[in-house]
Structures are given as structure tokens and as C-alpha cells.
């Protein structure tokens, strides 16, 4: 049994030296690399987490902003809608009031005009009637004898054939407004003596005044109503023309 203590000591020293050598040349660099990589990974993870957190924050902020904007928009919209509604109601009310006023004005104006026109027409009618009456009355002779004289004049003025046809007709008679008394009848007969012999005299109050000569073949108007008619027609023609 040989145990070399020198070799033992040298080998122990060798192991310790190798320990230091490997520690310096192998384990420390490799462990450093591993640690560095772990730190890098941790840093990258931390950065990623921070980035994710930042993104989440930004998202939250954006959502909040969007909410705020939506709320604001809705508020504005509601406000605008309310204003528009109010404005519309105001406008409608104003328009209704205006329309009512215009209608009332128009109605009033129309009433006024209608009244004025009626007045005017009344005046015209009155004037016309007055003129007609005045002119008719101005042309009237005095009493039935006068009318008889005028009838005779009218007959004389008529063309002969017509006068003859009239006088030849059957049922020749006179129409008076009021029944003549004897004197008047005599005067009438006298006046018409050249043309007709004592004609029958009928009474018609619608003539107002005057004396017409009627037969089956014609009529000679010589009464106040006829004059009034004629004058009124002439005046109407004058006015309308």
C-alpha cells in the first residue's frame, strides 16, 4: 500500500486551482449571460406589460372621451330639437295668428266692400229711379185727356200701314190706369175720333197713369209705366254702354 502524500497534496491544490480557473473562465460568464438574458426577458416582459397597460389606459380614455362626446352630442341634439320644436310652435302660432288676422281683415274688408257696393248700388238705383221718375214725370201730359192727345199724336206719327193694321184688328180697345169719368171719356173719344170710334175702355192699375190702345194685331203704349220702362232701359243702356 503506497500512498503518495505529495501527489495527494498536489492534486488537492490542483482541484482548488481548477476551481478558481473554471469559476473565472466558465461559470461566471455563463451565469452572467443567463442572468443578463433573464434580466432582458424580465425587462421585455415589463415593457410589454407597461405597453399593454398604456394601451388599456388609452382605450379607457378613448372610451371615456367617446362617451363624453356622445353625451354632449345627445345633449346638443336634444337642445336643438327642443329649440326647433319651440321655434316651430312659435312659428305655427304666429302663422295661425297671422292667418286669422288676415282672414279677419279680409272678411272685414269684404264686408266693408260688400256694404259699400250695396250702398253704391242702392244709391245708383235710387238715382236711377229718381232720374227715371223725374224724366218720366216731366214728359207726362196732364190727365187722361192729355194722354189721349198724345196717343193721337202717336197714331198720327205711325206709318200708315202699321196704323191701319192696328186699327183693323179685332178687339180694339183702350186701357186706362183709372176708370175715366164722363168728361174724360168724352175728351178721349174726341181726341181719338179721327182713328177710332168710341173704343171700349178697360181699366188696368198697373199702368199707373196713361192710356194704351190695344188690339189683336198690336198695341200702342201711351202710359206712365211704359215711359218709365223705356226711360229706365235707355238709362240702363247708357250706363252699360
Amino acid at each position: 500500500m503506497s500512498f503518495d502524500w505529495w501527489t495527494f497534496g498536489l492534486q488537492a491544490a490542483n482541484v482548488l486551482i481548477l476551481l478558481a480557473l473554471l469559476r473565472h473562465f466558465l461559470f461566471r460568464p455563463v451565469a452572467g449571460i443567463l442572468e443578463q438574458r433573464r434580466q432582458d426577458t424580465a425587462a421585455a416582459l415589463a415593457a410589454a406589460a407597461a405597453a399593454r397597460q398604456a394601451a388599456r389606459d388609452a382605450e379607457t380614455r378613448a372610451t371615456a372621451e367617446a362617451d363624453t362626446l356622445r353625451t354632449q352630442r345627445e345633449t346638443l341634439l336634444a337642445q336643438a330639437r327642443d329649440e326647433a320644436e319651440t321655434l316651430r310652435q312659435d312659428r305655427i302660432a304666429a302663422a295661425r295668428a297671422e292667418a286669422a288676422r288676415i282672414i279677419a281683415d279680409g272678411r272685414a274688408a269684404m264686408d266693408h266692400e260688400t256694404r259699400a257696393r250695396a250702398d253704391q248700388r242702392l244709391h245708383q238705383t235710387a238715382d236711377l229711379a229718381l232720374a227715371v221718375a223725374r224724366r218720366a214725370l216731366a214728359a207726362q201730359p196732364a190727365g187722361l185727356p192729355g194722354y189721349a192727345t198724345r196717343l193721337a199724336d202717336l197714331l198720327a206719327a205711325m206709318p200708315a200701314p202699321q196704323r191701319a193694321a192696328l186699327l183693323q184688328g179685332t178687339g180694339l180697345h183702350l186701357v186706362s190706369a183709372s176708370p175715366p169719368d164722363a168728361a174724360e171719356r168724352a175728351a178721349i173719344h174726341a181726341a181719338l175720333a179721327p182713328y177710332v170710334d168710341a173704343p171700349r175702355i178697360e181699366t188696368d192699375p198697373g199702368l199707373i197713369a196713361g192710356l194704351d190702345l190695344c188690339s189683336d194685331t198690336g198695341i200702342v203704349r201711351n202710359a206712365l209705366d211704359h215711359d218709365i220702362d223705356r226711360i229706365a232701359r235707355a238709362l240702363h243702356d247708357d250706363q252699360t254702354r
Binding site: 503506497s2 501527489t7 488537492a12 486551482i17 473554471l22 466558465l26 455563463v30 451565469a31 443567463l34
Partner: protein, 233 residues
């Protein structure tokens, strides 16, 4: 036949006799240091090469093994356990080189390794628990156990020595015998078995050293070797 216990003398360095074992160890140390420096120079963070991946795997496996055995920061024992593992492994496999006898096939080397483990256990025990705490750890579970604990301290390190020495030396010895009897090519299967034995013994040596140191640190004298992790060598 040459005795497996013999230590052939290489030369004398003054009064110090330098054996071939020490010479081989120096060569292995130089080779390992050069390789480590060469590999550490090419370390990068983003583009690890094949060598760097192996080294990182080694360090991480060491850390996980240590963390599974001893509670606390695994970086404390990383250098010691890693160096033991690497040195024993490289020394066992140095028999691949023709004419080189593994340093671990000699009792002095294994005894030196076990002595380092023993010194580390004592050192870590005192450092972690104080002199008093470390001394009282021998009186567990009671003071009657003190002689037994002391004997166990000796025997576990002696068995650590003999285990490694016997395995490696017997491999070398058997290969030598077979080579002298049968000649070329026949000892190749035995050499392959020797390599396997060498790797396993390196792992066992490192694990046991870790268990011993861990038991000195935690005071758990009855500590048993933990089941190997998934990524054990």
C-alpha cells in the same frame, strides 16, 4: 503485472516528486481552462451557438439539481459542484486518449477530491450555522450518537474516495488485463462500459458531494440522495 496502486514518478521538481498523475491532471486542467476560455469568449445573448447551449444547459441543470437538494440560492454551490462534476468526468474520459491513465484511477486524486468535499462541508457548515451550531449538529438526535456521527463523517468520505477510485481503477485494470490476454479490438466493449461507468460515477460523485455539503449546511445528518431530476446526465 504493474500494481494499480503504483504511482510512476515523472520527474523531480526540486524536492517535490511529480508523478504522472499530477502531470496528467495539469494537462487536463490546461485543456479544460483553454476550452472554457474559448467557449466563454464566444458567449452571446441573442445568438447562442451549440457550445453555449450545452454550457447553459449544464449550468441550469446544476442549478436545478442544487435547488432540489439544498434550499436557498443554488449559485453558492454551483462552482464547486460543477467543477467536481466536470473534472471527474473529464478525468474518467481521459482514458480515451492512448497512453493516458485517468488521474481518478489513482487513490491520491480521489482522496484529494473527497478532502475538498469534506473541507467544503465543514466550511459551509460553520459559515451557515456558526461553530456552535455546526458542532451541535454532531449530537443529533442525542449525545450518544456523537461517536457514530464522527465515524460516519470519516466513512462517508472514505467510501466516496474508494467508490470513485475502485470504479475507474477497476475499469483501467480490467482493460489492461483483457488487452494483455486477448489483444487488439477485444477490450472495446469494456472501454465503452468504462465510459458509461465514468460518466455515471462523475454524476454520482457530484451528487453525493452535494448531499454531504447540503447536509452540513441544513444540519440534516440523515439526508439521503434525492431522486435524480429529469435532466440528469
Amino acid at each position: 503485472m504493474e500494481s494499480p496502486f503504483a504511482n510512476p514518478l515523472a520527474f523531480m521538481l526540486g524536492p517535490v516528486p511529480i508523478t504522472t498523475t499530477v502531470l496528467t491532471t495539469w494537462a487536463l486542467m490546461a485543456a479544460m481552462t483553454l476550452a472554457a476560455a474559448w467557449a466563454a469568449r464566444r458567449l452571446t445573448i441573442d445568438r447562442p451557438g451549440r457550445v453555449q447551449v450545452v454550457l447553459e444547459l449544464l449550468v441550469e441543470t446544476l442549478d436545478s439539481e442544487i435547488a432540489g437538494t439544498v434550499p436557498g440560492d443554488p449559485a453558492r454551490f454551483r462552482v464547486l459542484i460543477g467543477t467536481l462534476l466536470l473534472f471527474v468526468f473529464v478525468a474518467n474520459w481521459s482514458s480515451l486518449v492512448p497512453g493516458v491513465e485517468p488521474p481518478t484511477a489513482h487513490l491520491e486524486t480521489d482522496a484529494a477530491l473527497a478532502a475538498v468535499v469534506f473541507a467544503a462541508g465543514v466550511g459551509w457548515g460553520i459559515r451557515t450555522r456558526g461553530v456552535r451550531g455546526w458542532l451541535t449538529s454532531f449530537a443529533r438526535p442525542s449525545w450518544v450518537m456523537i461517536p457514530l456521527n464522527l465515524v460516519e463523517q470519516v466513512t462517508r468520505h472514505v467510501s466516496l474516495t474508494i467508490r470513485l477510485f475502485g470504479n475507474v481503477m477497476s475499469g483501467v485494470f480490467v482493460i489492461g488485463i483483457v488487452l494483455s490476454l486477448a489483444g487488439l479490438l477485444v477490450p472495446i466493449p469494456l472501454m465503452a462500459l468504462d465510459l458509461l461507468t465514468g460518466a455515471v460515477q462523475a454524476y454520482i460523485f457530484a451528487t453525493l458531494a452535494l448531499v454531504f455539503i447540503g447536509s452540513a449546511v441544513t444540519g440534516d445528518e440523515g439526508a439521503t440522495p434525492p431522486p435524480p431530476q429529469q435532466d440528469a446526465p
